[in-house]
Amino acid sequence: MNVPLAIAAFLLLNLAAGLWRVMRGPTAADRMLAAQLFGTTAVATLLLLAEGTEQPALRDVALVFALLAAVAAVAFVQRVWSRRTEDVPD
């Protein structure tokens, strides 16, 4: 049995469960947090896939994902969330 692939599949299930939070919100920040979770989990999944399928190039994809998650969070805070005034719950 290929252990890395099995764990990668489990992490994908985790991601699918996390989509519920993207749907529910309630604030934009909660959705952004879910995106952060997806970033970290995607990095782990890609590293496991690189090992499980013996494709070392996937490690570089994981590196790019890590960078993109950081850029996405900064862009969100700077440009999206600082302008709009809706969705502040009390």
């Binding site: 890395p4 764990i7 939070r21 952060q36 590293l47």
Partner: protein, 104 residues
């Protein structure tokens, strides 16, 4: 399989499984915690530990030292970027007046 390879294989499987458990805890925390700040807390810490354990488990299986180095660099990048991003999101949440949850 020599006994050493056996021990390394078992240790690697244990580390990978522990990493998966931490990821699961992070997801459950994000789905179940009451407000934005506690979700941030659940997610950032649990996930970074989960990724660290996964990286350690994979490093035991890696075929060269360069691969181990790359795995560690990826983890370090995720740690730095995750900490910075979470701090930014939490601070802008506070500035926008989202109040932390208190027990009703």
């Amino acid at each position: 399989m020599s006994p050493t390879e056996w021990v390394i294989e078992i240790a690697s499987i244990l580390l990978l499984a522990a990493g998966a458990v931490f990821f699961f805890a992070g997801t459950v925390g994000m789905l179940r915690f009451p407000d934005f700040y506690s979700r941030l807390h659940a997610l950032t810490k649990a996930d970074n530990v989960g990724l660290g354990l996964t990286v350690l488990g994979l490093a035991l299986r890696a075929d060269s030292l360069a691969t181990v180095g790359k795995l560690l660099v990826i983890w370090a990048l995720v740690l730095l970027a995750g900490a910075t991003a979470s701090h930014l999101i939490a601070r802008s949440g506070l500035r926008r007046g989202i109040r932390p949850w208190t027990a009703p």
